[in-house]
């Protein structure tokens, strides 16, 4: 509980820090059409990068579920996937806003734009998959397998394919990977990344808690409904019909 508060306060401080830094941050680069639009990248880049991280965690938890069969791992896998999906969606939307300001078109079939959209489609199918099964064990097992399977496409969609064709992200990618950001600008970028990561983990943890609570409630309901008709009979055991 204490840890929870510590985390919350940390998050709040980070948020304030980012807001201040964001307001003070220098407007980077002459490459931008309108200097103010550069600031959206403090959000766009971290959510885009971290969505893969959450998808990875979802796949890892999926493997853990398939090995251990403990509902907790299913909750982790599911909530990480949801946060990853949300981040990928936010990356797409912020990217579209930026593209609209910068080039006058929101959707221009840029390589990364295409692939993140495919990623969204792949993970959107996960939610369809979860609705299709009758028992919880089945749902969780199949969803976990799909979370792993879906993640197999992530390296291709995030690292391989976008590099095989020209993209408007090339310059930006290189700038960040080789860390050529201005000092001030880079500092805000780091702070924003850290805050968004914390926010993601926080969302994920909250969702795990919620899923666990609803799972436990279902278990309780199941126990109650079961006790109505068979508790009186207690344990069912074989009886001997005749002596050998």
């Amino acid at each position: 509980m204490r840890l929870h508060w510590f985390f919350f306060v940390l998050l709040l401080l980070c948020a304030i820090g980012v807001t201040v830094l964001y307001a003070l941050a220098p407007q980077a680069g002459p490459a931008f059409m309108s200097p103010r639009t550069a600031k959206i990248l403090f959000f766009h880049v971290p959510v885009a990068m971290q969505s893969s991280l959450f998808f990875l965690w979802s796949a890892v938890a999926g493997v853990a579920y398939l090995v251990r069969r403990q509902p907790a791992w299913d909750h982790h896998s599911r909530s990480a996937l949801e946060v990853g999906f949300l981040f990928a969606l936010l990356a797409t939307l912020t990217g579209m806003v930026f593209a609209d300001q910068q080039w006058g078109v929101a959707w221009n079939w840029d390589a990364r734009q295409q692939y993140i959209f495919i990623l969204l489609l792949i993970y959107a199918a996960y939610f369809a998959l979860r609705l299709g099964f009758t028992t919880y064990e089945q749902t969780a097992a199949y969803a976990a397998a799909y979370a792993v399977f879906g993640f197999l496409t992530v390296p291709f969609l995030v690292w391989v394919l976008p590099r095989m064709q020209p993209s408007q992200h090339e310059q930006a990618n290189r700038t960040i990977i080789e860390w050529q950001l201005d000092t001030e600008y880079g500092r805000v970028f780091l702070a924003a990344s850290f805050t968004i990561l914390l926010l993601g983990i926080w969302c994920c943890a909250a969702r795990v808690k919620e899923l666990r609570a609803s799972h436990d409630k279902e278990e309780d309901d199941g126990c109650k409904s079961g006790s109505g008709d068979s508790a009186d009979s207690g344990v069912v055991r074989p009886v001997r019909l005749r002596n050998p």
Binding site: Y115, I118, L121, A125, A128, Q138, A145, F149, M164
Partner: protein, 218 residues
């Protein structure tokens, strides 16, 4: 491996005797090839469009016919029989091989048909054949797994379409790139794309059986 071949043999015998599944698959591919040819009949499509036609043809052939192998088992109630016999890896690999053979056969018939109907010029036949082979491998591996996942759910047919289509999209670009070069257009690193198709086929083909064995008795 012998077990997987037994599953493949069972599929082949079963489908050859059943006839209608295979017949529908072939008919679908020919109809699709003809429809695409007709749509581009006004003028000979440039390589960039022609490669799209080839890829769309493969994509729809695979989605319409391949998920059937797993879905049919559950529909006719033989899924439990397979599970009782044990060995999920053999079942998955056998069915994946069957899907690969079927898709390759469809591709070998439908792609030349499309080339004929649309009057496409093949400038690099070797690249075309190799990328067709690898694309079929990748599509077969991914659709097999998606079909297997969807087969136990309540809305099998719809779900297998919904989950396999997006998973197949990463293949589309590599396939497009390779086919474009094979059909005479300038494309960046066409052989790298073909090898990329092979790489994805191998990744999905090797992870698929493992994941399938983890869920198959659920």
């Amino acid at each position: 491996m012998r077990e997987a071949l037994a599953v493949l043999k069972k599929e082949v015998i079963s489908e050859l005797r059943g006839k209608h599944g295979l017949y529908m698959a072939f008919l679908f591919s020919i109809v699709a090839a003809f429809a695409l040819g007709m749509a581009s009949s006004l003028e000979r499509p440039p390589a960039s469009i022609a490669s799209v036609l080839v890829m769309v043809l493969l994509l729809f052939s695979s989605i319409s016919s391949l998920s059937r192998t797993f879905v049919l088992e559950e529909e006719q109630g033989t899924g439990d029989l397979l599970r009782v016999l044990g060995d999920p890896v053999a079942v998955f690999v056998g069915k994946m091989l069957y899907n690969f053979c079927l898709l390759l056969l469809l591709g070998v018939i439908a792609v030349p048909a499309l080339v004929l109907f649309s009057g496409l010029a093949v400038s690099d036949p070797l690249l075309l054949v190799v990328s067709l082979l690898f694309a079929c491998g990748g599509l077969a591996a991914a659709v097999s797994f998606c079909g297997a996942l969807a087969s136990r759910s309540r809305s099998r047919a719809a779900l297998s379409g919904v989950i396999s289509t997006p998973v197949l999209l990463p293949w589309v670009w590599m396939g497009l790139n390779a086919f474009r070069a094979a059909l005479g257009d300038v494309a960046a690193q066409p052989w790298a794309s073909a090898v990329g198709l092979l790489g994805m086929a191998l990744v999905f083909g090797s992870i698929g059986p493992m994941l399938y064995s983890a869920v198959w008795r659920r």
